[in-house]
Symmetry: C2
C-alpha cells in the first residue's frame, strides 16, 4: 500500500487536505483557505493563530486524531505561554507541525472574520473585517550592492509577506520610517488602510517591532449628546464608551436655532465646527484613557450625525439646510485623513462618514439603516429616528423609501412649558386616575412612584424639575384616557369643577401635575393647552411622514417597527400607539432599536464591506421630500387627532391584547378607565 | 445623384469626415478625434477652440473650401471678439456651423496637446498634457422633487459634460461648494487633478463662473540656490521665474555640513525643513506677483532636488544619507497635497516630487534624465550633474546605469583657498602666457579682460574677490599647459626663479594670480598646491565614476556628453577635457544641458505621461554604488593625473581639431605652449 500524507480536517469549516509530515498547521490552513488570524505571519509573536487538536476517533471524518500527531510544544510556544499565557490544550498553529492525521478546531477568536456579538436580539451578525489591518513584517536591511530606499523595502516586504500592493503613504510617515526600522531592528508592524478615497492601499502607521493594538472610534454626533465607542479592531469588542453633551448647545438648544445662529452671524459655522471638533477630540481622549491605550493606537473614526451635525463637524456652513430646497452641500460617503477634521489620534488615522440619505435624512439615518437592515428584510419595516426632525425609512429588500418630517423638538421636552431633557428630576412616567384625576408619576433617578412612601425623601436631592419626552407622551395619553382632553386635544374646562388640578389659564386650562407643597424653590409642574398642541403637532408630523411613505408603498400597516435613538429607548410603545405616533402594527413587533445610528457607525467600523453596502443602499433609497407632497399636509391635519382618526379602535384593541409590561402597569386598568370615561360621555 | 453631406477635412491632422449641414465644427472635430482645446465646452467663453477656414481649391483633399461654407459670425463670437479679441479670419469652432465642404486648419494654440517649445536645440518636444485641467460646467439646481446634494450634481455635471468619473475631493472644498455654485449662478469652473496617489480623479478647486487661469510651479531645490518657474498650464509658457539663495546655507555651506548639523543637533532637520519650506513659499509668492496672478491660481508644484534637499524639503531627517549604506528614507515618486509641505497656494494644489535614483543620485538627476532622455537615445549618452556629489547617468535606450561620485564642493569654489561662488568679483576665465607665466583673467560682472585698458576702473565696484568653479578649472588647466604644474599636479618650484608669481609657501609653492596693487582691502588671489590637489581629487572622483559606468557598459567613449547645472553652463568644455574631467568624446558632442534638472521638473509639470515615463526609467536604471566597487578606487587613483593617463594624447588631438570658440581664445596658442613646455622637459 502506498504511503499517503496525513489527512488534516479543520473544523468548523470542514475544509480538508493531505499535507507532508512536518508542514506547519498554519501553512496547511492557508493552503486550504481556512480562516485563521495572524498578525505576525507565523513568528509565534501575536498568538492569534491558536488551535485545538482533536483527540480520539472522528467517525464523521474517518480519522483518528491525537495530540501525538503533532510535534511537541516548541520553545517559542513555551515562551509565548510564559509571557502572554496559552489556554490549556491550545497550540499556536504556526508552531505546530503535522506528524499524522488530525482534526483541528479553529476557535472563534482565532478566526480573522470572527462574528462580532451584538447585544440586541433579532439583529444580524457582523463579521469582523475592518478597513485597517496590522501586519508584522521583516524588512531587508539596506545593501549598497542593491541600492533601494527604506520605504521601498517596507513596501516590498508587505508585498512578499502579505501580498499587499499599490501602497502609498503620507510624507509625515516617510519622515519616521528610518527611525522606526532601526529601532525595531528591521522588524516593524504596519497598519494598512484598504479604502482610501481614489483607491489603492494606504500605509497608515508603523511601529517598531511587534504591535498588536489597533482601535477605532464609532461616533454618533447628536444634536444634544455625542456618544463614542472605542472598539478593538482585532476582536470587535467595545473597549470603552463615553458620552458628552454637544457643546454647540450654547449656540442653540435645537438644530434650527443653531442654523439660525449661523445665518445671523456669518462665519459662525466656524465656531460651531470648532466646538464640536473639540468635543470629539475630548471624547477620543476620554475613551483612550478609560481603555488605557495611546491615542496613536486609534487608526479609524466612523461618524454619523443628522445633516446639520454632519455639515458642522465637516466644517460646512449648514445655512442651506435651513430653507427650501434644503440642499446638502454633500451627502456622499466620505473617507479622508482624520486629522483634516482636527482629530489628534494616530497621524495616519482615517475618518469615514456615512452617507446622508437626503436633505433632512442624515448619516444617522444611514446608520439606522445599516443597523436595522430594512434593505435585507422580507417584510416591510418602518425605521424611525426621532430628533428635531423624524427621519423615516420604510420598505423591504424590494423597495425602500425615506423622508423626514418636521416634528420639532417637543418630543425631546423642548417647547413644552415644563419640558426638559431626560435628566435626574424629570418626570418620565405618569398615570392619571380616571375617577379622581389624581396623577402619580416617576422621576428619573428615583425608583419609587410619587404615591409610594418615601418618595419625597428620595427626590429631595434633585426635586422634581420638569417633564422629559417620555413623560410628556404618557401625560398626554393619560389625560386623553382620563377624558381631560378630547380626541381633538382640547382641555375639557368642565373638569375644573371636579378637581383643582384643572385650572383656568389664559382662556384655556392647565392640568397641574405637581404643586410644590412647601416654600421650596421647586417649580409648579403642569401641562398647558399649548403643550398638548405641541405634542399633537409633533406626533401629527411624524405620523403624516410615515403615512406618506405607506401611501407610496400602497400599504396600511408595516410588518415591524423600529424606533431608534433616545426617544425610541425611553418611550413606552403602548403610549406611542395610544397617541397615534406610530401606525397600526402588532405591538409585539414594535421595538426600540436603541442607539441604532451609533450601532450603524460601529458596523461600518468593524466591517469594510458594510460601507459599500450602506453606500449602495442609500443610492437605492427613494427620497421623498414631504414639503412638495400635497398629501403630506392632508395627512398632517388628519393626524392631529388623538389617536389619528383611522387607527383609534384598531390600536386600542391591539393594545388591550398585550401582556403586562414589567416596568409599567398593565393596560387593563387604564383601558378600563378609558372605557369608563367613554361611557360617561 | 444622391445628395451627400459636406466633406470636412481638418489640417494638420488630415482627419476627415462628412457631417450634416448645421453641425458645429467643434462637434465634428470631436467626432473625428481632432485635437481641439476647449475649457467652456462649446459656450463661446474660453476662446480656446479657434480655427481658420481654408479658402480655395484644395486639390490634395479634392474639395473647394470657402468661408461662405459656414454660417456668418454669430453674436456671441462678436461679443468674444469685442471683449477678448479674435485674430482676423479666426472663428470659434463651437459657433461655426457647417454649410458646405471645408478645409479647416487647427492652429497650434488651439490644440489641447500643443507642443511646448523648448529653447535648447537638440531636445525633444514636449506635448502639453498637464495632470490638472479646467472644466467649465453648468450644474443642475437643487430640486426638492429629486433630492441630491450640490456636490453630487457637480460630479454629475463633470461626468455628463466632460466624461470625468471616479471623483473625490477634500472636505475643505466641500465647505465651499454651495457658496461657489450660488455665486456662479450654477455655472462654475472646476480644476480636476488626474493623478492623486491611489488613483481616481480629484476635484482640486472650483471657481464661480468661467475661470481660465491655471498655473503650476516647477522648482529645482539646489543646495545653493533654488529656482522656480511659474508655468501657464494652458499654454506651457513660463509666466515668471525667480531664484533665491537656499536659506539653509546658514546651517552649512555644503550638503555634508548640513547633514552634520542635523547629526549634531537632534531634531535640527526641522529647522532646515522649515527654512527651505519658507523659501519655497516666498518664491511662489514672488513669481505669482511677477506674473500678476493669485496664489490660488497655482494648482500644481513639481519639485526636484538632490537626495539631501529632497529629504529636507519633505521633512525627513537626512542623517542616514551621511554614512554608509546611504539609505534613502524614500526615493519613489510622490504625489500629495502641496499644503502638507507647507505651501499656501490653492488649498487643493498637488505636489509631485520626482523619484530619486539612488542614495546619492537624487530627484535632480531624474530631472536631468527626463530632460536629456538618455533612455530614448540610440547612442550612448553621458549625463553628469555636478554638485557636492556628481550624479552620473550613462547609457542608451538599451541599458542605463547611474552612480554618484564624491567630488566634494571644489568645483563650486568651496575648499579652495581663494574659491568662492559664482558672483560678481569672482574670476571666471583665466589664461597664462606660457613664456612669461603672466596671467590675464576675466571677472564676473565685467566684460574686459584684466589686460585690457579700463579693467581696473570697471571692477572698482566689486574688486576681485576670489575664483569661482569655472575659473579654478581654467587656472589649473592653464597652469598645466604652461608647465607650472606637472602631470601629477605638483607645482614646479624651479619656476620661482623665472617669476615672482611662483612663491614658496609651507614647503610647496603658490601661483599668484593677482597681487593687490594698493592698500585696498582686496585679497591676494592665488592658487595653492592644496587647491590643485582639491581639484585633482574632485576631477578624479568624477572621472572614476564615469569610468566605472563605462566599464560596466564595456565602452571607452560615450557618443555624447551633457553637463547639467551651473557647473555645466559655466565651464569651458575644452578645459574640462584638458583636465580630464570628462572622458574622451568628440568635443562637438559635449554640451551644457543648462538647468536640466529644472527642465525635467517643468516637463513633469507640463506632461503627466512624463511622470510615468521617469518613474519607469528610474526603476530600469541600474544603480551602482561606487563605495562597494573595488575598481572605483583604482580608477580614482589613475585619474588623479592631468589629464587622466589613458586619455592624454587622444584628448589633446581632439581639442586641437576644434574650431575657435567665440568667447575664449583658440586652443592653438595654448596647445602650442603646452607642446613647447613638453619639449623643454
Amino acid at each position: 500500500m502506498a504511503e499517503q500524507n496525513p489527512l488534516i480536517v479543520f473544523t468548523p469549516s470542514g475544509k480538508r487536505g493531505r499535507f507532508p509530515i512536518g508542514t506547519p498547521v498554519l501553512q496547511a490552513a492557508r493552503a486550504l483557505g481556512v480562516d485563521i488570524d495572524s498578525v505576525c505571519g507565523g513568528r509565534a509573536i501575536c498568538g492569534r493563530c491558536q488551535i485545538n487538536i482533536g483527540e480520539g476517533e472522528f467517525a464523521k471524518h474517518g480519522i483518528t486524531s491525537s495530540a501525538t500527531h503533532v510535534n511537541e510544544t516548541t520553545q517559542v510556544e513555551q515562551r509565548y505561554d510564559r509571557i502572554k499565557g496559552l489556554p490549556a490544550g491550545r497550540r499556536l498553529s504556526c508552531q505546530t507541525q503535522i506528524r499524522g492525521d488530525l482534526v483541528i478546531d479553529v476557535p472563534p477568536e482565532s478566526q480573522v472574520h470572527k462574528q462580532v456579538v451584538r447585544k440586541e436580539a433579532d439583529t444580524r451578525a457582523i463579521a469582523l473585517d475592518p478597513a485597517t489591518h496590522l501586519y508584522f513584517i521583516e524588512v531587508e536591511e539596506p545593501d549598497m550592492h542593491k541600492p533601494s530606499s527604506d520605504l521601498e523595502r517596507v513596501y516590498a516586504a508587505l508585498k512578499a509577506q502579505w501580498g499587499i500592493e499599490n501602497l502609498s503613504c503620507d510624507i509625515g510617515l516617510i519622515a519616521s520610517v528610518q527611525k522606526v526600522l532601526r529601532k525595531g531592528e528591521w522588524k516593524i508592524t504596519c497598519a494598512v488602510f484598504s479604502r482610501p478615497a481614489g483607491g489603492g492601499n494606504r500605509l497608515a502607521a508603523i511601529w517598531p517591532g511587534f504591535h498588536d493594538k489597533l482601535f477605532g472610534l464609532a461616533i454618533d454626533v447628536g444634536s444634544t449628546t455625542i456618544a463614542a465607542h472605542l472598539t478593538d479592531l482585532s476582536s470587535g469588542a467595545v473597549a470603552a464608551s463615553a458620552g458628552l453633551m454637544n457643546p454647540q448647545i450654547r449656540f442653540g438648544e435645537d438644530l434650527m436655532s443653531r442654523v439660525s445662529y449661523v445665518m445671523m452671524n456669518p462665519g459662525g459655522e466656524k465656531e460651531l465646527t470648532s466646538a464640536i471638533r473639540g468635543a470629539l477630540q475630548q471624547l477620543a481622549e476620554e475613551v483612550a484613557k478609560q481603555a488605557g491605550i495611546a491615542l496613536t493606537d486609534i487608526l479609524e473614526v466612523v461618524l454619523v450625525g443628522n445633516p446639520v451635525m454632519h455639515h458642522l463637524f465637516l466644517g460646512i456652513d449648514p445655512t442651506e439646510l435651513g430653507g427650501a430646497p434644503f440642499a446638502l452641500a454633500d451627502g456622499m460617503a466620505l473617507t479622508f485623513p482624520a486629522r483634516e477634521m482636527g482629530f489628534a489620534l494616530n497621524q495616519g488615522a482615517y475618518a469615514y462618514v456615512l452617507p446622508c440619505i437626503a436633505g433632512h435624512v442624515g448619516a444617522d439615518a444611514a446608520g439606522v439603516a445599516l443597523s436595522e437592515a430594512p434593505h435585507e428584510s422580507d417584510e416591510i419595516m418602518l425605521c424611525v429616528d426621532v430628533g428635531t426632525n423624524a427621519e423615516i425609512i420604510l420598505g423591504s429588500k424590494k423597495r425602500l423609501l425615506a423622508c423626514s418630517s418636521p416634528t420639532g423638538p417637543a418630543f425631546e421636552g423642548a417647547q413644552i412649558s415644563c419640558g426638559q431633557r431626560a435628566a435626574p428630576g424629570a418626570i418620565e412616567r405618569i398615570r392619571i386616575d380616571a375617577a379622581t384625576l389624581e396623577p402619580r408619576y416617576k422621576v428619573i433617578g428615583c425608583d419609587r412612584w410619587s404615591d409610594e412612601p418615601g418618595f419625597e425623601e428620595a427626590i429631595a436631592g434633585t426635586g422634581v424639575t420638569g417633564i422629559c419626552g417620555s413623560g410628556i407622551i404618557e401625560a398626554i395619553a393619560e389625560m386623553y384616557l382620563a377624558g381631560i382632553i378630547s380626541q381633538d386635544g382640547l382641555m375639557d374646562g368642565s373638569f375644573a369643577a371636579r378637581t383643582p388640578r384643572i385650572e383656568p389659564f389664559k382662556r384655556t386650562f392647565n392640568y397641574v401635575i405637581r404643586q410644590p407643597t412647601d416654600e421650596s424653590n421647586q417649580p409648579l409642574i403642569r401641562i398647558t393647552q399649548n403643550d398638548v398642541r405641541a405634542i399633537q403637532m409633533a406626533k401629527a408630523a411624524l405620523y403624516a411622514g410615515v403615512r406618506l411613505l405607506m401611501d407610496k408603498l400602497g400599504i396600511n400597516e408595516p410588518a415591524k417597527i423600529r424606533l431608534a435613538g433616545a426617544f425610541g429607548s425611553h418611550i413606552d410603545m403602548k403610549y406611542a400607539m395610544i397617541l397615534g405616533l406610530i401606525p397600526d402594527c402588532d405591538l409585539t413587533r414594535v421595538q426600540s432599536a436603541g442607539n441604532a445610528a451609533g450601532t450603524g457607525a460601529r458596523i461600518a467600523l468593524l466591517n469594510k464591506a458594510a460601507r459599500d453596502e450602506i453606500e449602495h443602499v442609500v443610492r437605492r433609497i427613494e427620497k421623498i421630500e414631504t414639503a412638495v407632497e400635497p398629501l403630506f399636509q392632508q395627512h398632517f391635519v388628519e393626524a392631529m387627532a388623538i389617536p389619528h382618526k383611522t387607527a383609534e379602535f384598531v390600536n386600542l384593541k391591539k393594545v388591550q391584547k398585550l401582556p403586562p409590561l414589567k416596568s409599567v402597569e398593565t393596560l387593563g386598568d387604564d383601558g378600563g378607565a378609558r372605557r369608563a370615561r367613554r361611557r360617561t360621555q
